[in-house]
């Protein structure tokens, strides 16, 4: 690789995001990440669609039944309901009649919450009970050396493709491009996909693997979202790496790692993994040094 393609800009101690380009901004950036973690923990403990509240996630396929003990998803106190796809929409049918389950819209059902998502013909239903913070997420200490300012090299052909979102549901996510940066002395290139939300909002997401996977971090990799900056470049901050929801709750499908998206060195930053179905050894036992 020529040095021209190495577009990363090491950020020596000072970051510019919210408070302007002062050295105090580094502390501010660490504080922003800390605040995001507080918010995330709060959301995990209280949102009706928190992974800790999830009871079941199922491909709707030819139809699934909810309610009585012998149905696909038993829900106490709920009379028999059938969920199926018809002409691109998801229908909830019961003795009381039919209603649509709009995609990406949590809908209440006798104290439970239903969330339909995914493309027509391959939609997924997630079922949630009461939210409760079962375990706080754990993180590596904030590390300013894993924050990069990168430029997005747009893909020549932005062919669309389907991948699993952080919550294991299928989503159309065209390749937006790639980023290159120097991590632990090696040029690293990662593919970036644009994952569409609602209201014109979308995220530039990277699902990456690194040398800590299975050794203190989630075995199948982690998600990190690129943050735009006013300069037109993007902030890649591995302190913001987070686990897919199947790390919290085994009802979720686990996204398969994106081919080739591997950081060769250990990324000792962002969310850690402390078991839950697939118990990984604690970091201290692996010989991987933490800061």
């Amino acid at each position: 690789m020529s040095s021209k393609t190495v577009r990363q800009l090491a950020l020596p101690g000072c970051l510019l995001l919210l408070q302007g380009p002062t050295c105090g901004a580094l502390a501010a950036q660490a504080a922003v990440v800390a605040q995001e973690r507080t918010e995330y923990e709060r959301w995990l403990g209280s949102a009706n669609v928190s992974p800790y509240a999830a009871i079941a996630q199922a491909r709707i396929g030819t139809g699934i039944r909810l309610g009585p003990a012998d149905s696909d998803v038993p829900l106490e106190g709920v009379p028999l309901q059938r969920v199926f796809e018809e002409g691109g929409r998801v229908v909830l049918e019961s003795a009381a009649g039919e209603r649509s389950l709009p995609k990406e819209r949590p809908v209440g059902l006798s104290g439970f919450t239903l969330l339909a998502s995914g493309p027509a013909g391959r939609a997924t239903l997630s079922v949630f009970g009461k939210p409760a913070l079962k375990r706080s997420p754990t993180y590596f200490p904030y590390d300013s050396s894993v924050v990069f300012s990168v430029s997005l090299e747009r893909a020549d052909q932005s062919g669309s493709g389907f991948v699993l979102e952080v919550d294991g549901t299928e989503v159309e996510a065209p390749v937006a491009g790639s980023i290159s940066f120097n991590f632990a002395g090696r040029l690293t290139r990662l593919v970036v996909r644009r994952i569409q939300g609602g209201d014109e909002e979308s995220d530039l997401e990277i699902y990456f693997r690194d040398a800590t996977n299975g050794k203190g971090t989630y075995p199948a990799g982690r998600f990190v979202t690129l943050l735009p900056s006013p300069s037109g470049r993007y902030l890649l901050d591995f302190n913001r790496a987070r686990n897919p929801f199947c790390a919290y709750n085994s009802v979720y499908a686990c996204p398969a790692p994106w081919r080739g998206n591997t950081v060769a060195a250990p990324v000792l930053a962002g969310e850690r993994y402390s078991g839950g179905g697939l118990d990984a050894p604690a970091v201290a036992d692996t010989g991987v040094k933490t800061r």
């Binding site: 937006a176 609602g198 014109e200």
Partner: protein
């Protein structure tokens, strides 16, 4: 739409937010007087969205407005707890919580997302934003193209200098994005729109004859765009081309009103009348913009034989919750025509509830029925107050259509 959480849980979330690390209760602090104008900012990852918060009243009875330039939306509830301030935007189930530090505020705008919290940093300081006019070379109508990752789509920008400085709007095939307000310096500009629900920031720079920039939505979503001066040739699809309908027989609808009584197109009150069916949602800011125009039409032409019926496609599908929101909407605009609870607001539900419509894409959609009950015209979307002349033209067209249909016997 994303702001769609179960209100009960949202309320609970709010409590957690207030009890959390961000805001601390300090009963000994001297009472804080939030009254006055605040220069506020949402710090999006790619830029700052400026708006104002105007607070008036007295302790225990504060009221507030959220303003983009001189266009304001009411904030439903203002509370001061010791050294923190909480603003509730009930129309959209959202909150702004901030810590008070002298004459500044720092906190967050929140509502709940499906894959993590939707939180955007908020800060404010006492005082008003400067009113700064933009250079003439920015002002006017621009034909823009938005480049999403796998497709591009047309938009129109209307940029002008208004009483509060640089302002404008963005128009798509299905209506406008509301009133934008901001500022310009040399060749670049920033225009923002924050109404408690939508978080939009348009930033751009003049590059020769071309405007180039980024449209920011929410905390970190960005869409690049390019725009050239409008030649007058239509750049968008006409709103009447977007949605079509079966016109071979009367347009059918039958849904419960807010009292639970079924109202249908075959009811005596619609017989032989011109009927405007308004497909709307109380969650939809553009529908809030459109409502006063419908009320004006109804007041002017009801006695001559115009009936209006609103079909609300709401958020939860729970009659108690949705009914409450639609009643708020009715009372806000003093609506006297019937509003019916038609279902939940996804496109599929609306398409299923109104099978005679094809290509239903936009809230609001106005369906004009002739005296024989058949569809005569459909207007998808509405150009709200943000769009100035465009809105006047649209209201004029709607009125013309009503008058034309009323003349038919």
């Amino acid at each position: 739409m994303k702001k769609t959480t179960l209100p009960v849980l949202t309320r609970r979330y709010r409590w957690l937010a207030l009890g959390g690390g961000l805001l601390a209760w300090s009963p000994t602090a001297s009472p804080f007087d939030p009254a006055g104008t605040w220069r506020a900012v949402l710090d999006l990852a790619g830029g700052s969205l400026r708006f104002s918060v105007d607070i008036s009243g007295r302790a225990g009875a504060w009221s507030a407005k959220l303003c983009n330039g001189d266009r304001c939306e009411p904030i439903s509830r203002v509370r001061v707890f010791g050294d923190s301030l909480s603003l509730e935007i009930a129309d959209y189930d959202a909150t702004i919580d901030a810590l008070i530090k002298g004459d500044s505020l720092a906190g967050a705008y929140r509502n709940v997302g499906n894959r993590g919290p939707r939180v955007i940093p908020f800060r404010a300081a006492r005082g008003s934003w400067n009113k700064a006019a933009g250079p003439p070379k920015l002002v006017g109508r621009w034909d823009a193209t938005f480049f999403q990752a796998w497709r591009s789509s047309p938009r129109v920008f209307e940029i002008r200098n208004g009483p509060a400085g640089l302002e404008g709007t963005i128009i798509s095939n299905s209506g406008d994005y509301g009133h934008f307000w901001g500022s310009a310096s040399a060749d670049s500009f920033a225009l923002g729109h924050f109404d408690g629900s939508f978080v939009y920031l348009l930033t751009g720079r003049l590059d020769g004859d071309t405007l180039r920039g980024v449209f920011h939505a929410g905390l970190r979503s960005e869409t690049p765009w390019v725009a050239v001066r409008s030649t007058g040739k239509p750049h968008l699809k006409a709103p009447t081309e977007v949605t079509r309908a079966d016109t071979t027989e009367p347009f059918r609808f039958a849904f419960p009103d807010l009292q639970g009584h079924l109202v249908s197109n075959t009811d005596a009150r619609f017989r032989g009348k011109v009927v405007l069916v308004d497909v709307f949602g109380s969650w939809c800011p553009t529908c809030h913009d459109a409502a006063p125009a419908l009320v004006r039409l109804w007041q002017k032409y009801h006695s001559q034989g115009l009936e209006i019926v609103g079909l609300a496609f709401e958020v939860t599908g729970d009659t108690a919750v949705d009914g409450r929101q639609v009643r708020r909407f009715r009372d806000k605009f003093g609506i006297q025509f019937p509003l019916l609870l038609a279902g939940i607001n996804d496109t599929e539900t609306a398409a299923e509830a109104l099978p005679q419509l094809q290509g239903f894409t936009a809230y609001p959609t106005a369906i004009f029925l002739g005296r024989d009950g058949r569809v005569r015209r459909i207007h998808a979307g509405f150009y709200g107050p943000a769009t100035g002349p465009e809105q006047a033209r649209m209201e004029g067209e709607m009125e013309k259509e009503v008058k034309k249909l009323l003349r038919e016997q």
